[in-house]
Amino acid sequence: MSILSPNYDCGPFCDEMFASSGAVRPHYKRLAERLGTLPEADFHQRRAAIDLAFLRRGVTFTVYNNSEGTERIFPFDLIPRIIPASEWKRLEAGLVQRITALNLFVHDLYHEQKILKDKVVPAAQVLSARHFRREFMNFSVPRDIYVHICGTDLIRDDAGRYLVLEDNLRCPSGVSYMIENRAAMRRAFPNLFQSYGVRPVEGYADTLLKSLRYITPRPGDKPSVVLLTPGVYNSAYFEHTFLARQMGIPIVEGRDLVVRDSHVFMRTTAGLVPVDVIYRRIDDDFLDPSVFRPDSVLGVPGLVGAYRAGNVALANAIGTGVADDKVIYAYVPKIIKYYLDQEALLPNVNTYLASDPADRKFILENIAKLVVKSANEAGGYGMLIGPAATAAECAEFRTMVAAQPRNFIAQDPIKLSRSPTWCDGQLEGRHIDLRPYILTGEKTVVTPGGLTRVALRKGSLVVNSSQGGGSKDTWVLKGDE
């Protein structure tokens, strides 16, 4: 018996694999044929083999607020998400445009602030942003690049239109799963891969290392690059070791680094060795206890001093968080227009700002129909999905929004596209999103692929790994079918 059931229901959503007529979309045809001939037992065997491989290899993440078994594998679904070449070309152009504009925006904010003077973005919104680092005004970063690594979350609405849901400009995670998922799929369906023309994602680590070397404060010399992790208890620790291994650079914790005379060194068995570039997976707040949070034990005292002296480069730069504030997000189409004089190729989700009196009134009156998000939370925390929430939850958010309007935005709920996903013994439609990874060095590069996250709970719109999400391999094709 085939796992492709004739009873598959697309519902009122855009389905990635099936058109509304029920016909398989052209770029999924060969996958459908393969699945059609695959006995169900084989399918299960491959699923089980992949799960076991992930567990054995320790491809896991850590769940907070959970006392038992804090390490889990990220559930993996065998049905890939496939993107044809022409569609990807539009996405790629839109993402490059967006990151280019955001980089110019952050640079401007920490220098002339032209965009504020021209009142395109209200100064109050920027100055009140939690991650705006006024102490770095007029500080120039190497090669004027602020956002070296970016993960932008995209979704598709019921018409199949791609929309930007949020930008992650601080320490976006998940890229290791993009690469591990590909390795798993290649083992599960080796022949299919050869014939399909799927573009490889494995170049990511190489491009990342090039981008990191590009910002060394001592060009010409072979740069010493390290990855700074909060440590083994961080939920993304697997990813940190994965990337360090792929790039062949040391992974360091705060306690491995010392700053002497405004230079950064790492403690090795042969003494102190200089460090030029730090790919940090620690938020600004924890980088240097002598400048930011004094209670941080993760950081390195004196690091910011060395950074200011231009002796060490950080990726991403300090202060990029201002542009991943969800209030600033609402202005990105205007930001693109302002710096590049172009219309945004990838539209935003329609967003209401609680700090705007008219919008706030609308939000408070329609909260049960909206998705409300706090401006600076990530990971699916601190948000309300109005249509799925209880009256009490809505009331709670109404109070919070009224009390701290700057900290909240609201968006129209989007009927996220769905993909066939193996759940409860059959293929059913589940909502998905897409996080492509964009690297900026000498030029801006989007890795063809990304992390497709899937909300495994029926009807759920929350795809975060911490909230019952899983993932799929993402295939960007060389052609259109």
Binding site: G58, V252, R260, A270, G271, L272
Partner: protein
Amino acid sequence: MPPRPKGPPARQQATVMLSRVAYSLYWMSRQIERAENMSRLLEVNLQFLLDFQGFDDAGLKEHWGSILASAGDEALFDTVHATADSRSVTDFLAFDLRNPRSILSCVFAARENARMIRDQISVEMWETINEMYLFLKDRSATDIWIAGPYEFFQHVKRHSHLFQGLTDATYPRSEGWEFIQFGKWIERADQTTRILDVKYHILLPQAADVGGAVDTAQWQAVLRSASASEAYHRFYVQEILPWKVAEFLIFSDSFPRSLHCCVLQVDELLRRIVGETSARARTEAARAARRLVTDLASLTIAEVLDQGLHEFLLEVQKSLERIGEEVVQTTMFYSAEFDPEEQQQQQQQ
């Protein structure tokens, strides 16, 4: 005094090893070796008690008491258990996470160390430790006890062997290798002293039993605890004589678990790790290691027995501890107030 980098600091092109990584490699290796030895010790003694069921409660208590004493965990045991019998001692030494030297504690800690540095070790090494961990995590002490702990000990030993073999086959012969090997050999030396020390506790009280069937079986158990049974017989052929067993496990220069062999390796690795190449040792650790090597190469078993086997073994344990401690201090927890260039020169001398 803070360092004064003159111009751009000197670049080190060769791969460098973080102190923290060295520390994790060293302990990961020690903990695996320790778990293996503890498994063998428990397995052999449980088997021994099955073979000789004549022990009364007092005899049992004494038997297990001596094992606890040699493991150095008596005090902690007494706070957790009222009596020392097969079940309580096995629970304590194998499964109890409150005991930092139990098999479970060792494997969990080794896995945590490996996880911290998994970018530094091969996928094969990581998978082996992780499998070992997943196997132990999924089983309760009660289940293992009911099923018979044989399979459990077997699993731990196998995975330790697999790990050491894979390390040999997949890990580069670099500085990290030296720390892994140093950890393994120093732990093995320490464990061999403890295995012998168990016998010291067992032997003393009943002089009447010396040479009897039980006594021979007990020395046989000592040999098996050190995986030395076959090697001993090949070397001596004859029956098992207590002093020959002790001689073999202390002085053999060919058996890879004898004190002598282990200490030779420790000394050799120490020379490489702290750069001790001159005739006269500079560090306390190197002096201690060389003294041990000399003793083990020149002493006789009669001299050791004269001095007292127990006292001799305790002295060796203390030396090993000092050596390990000094390596950790000089390569991992040194003060960062050094001038980096000056320090590198010191290392290269």
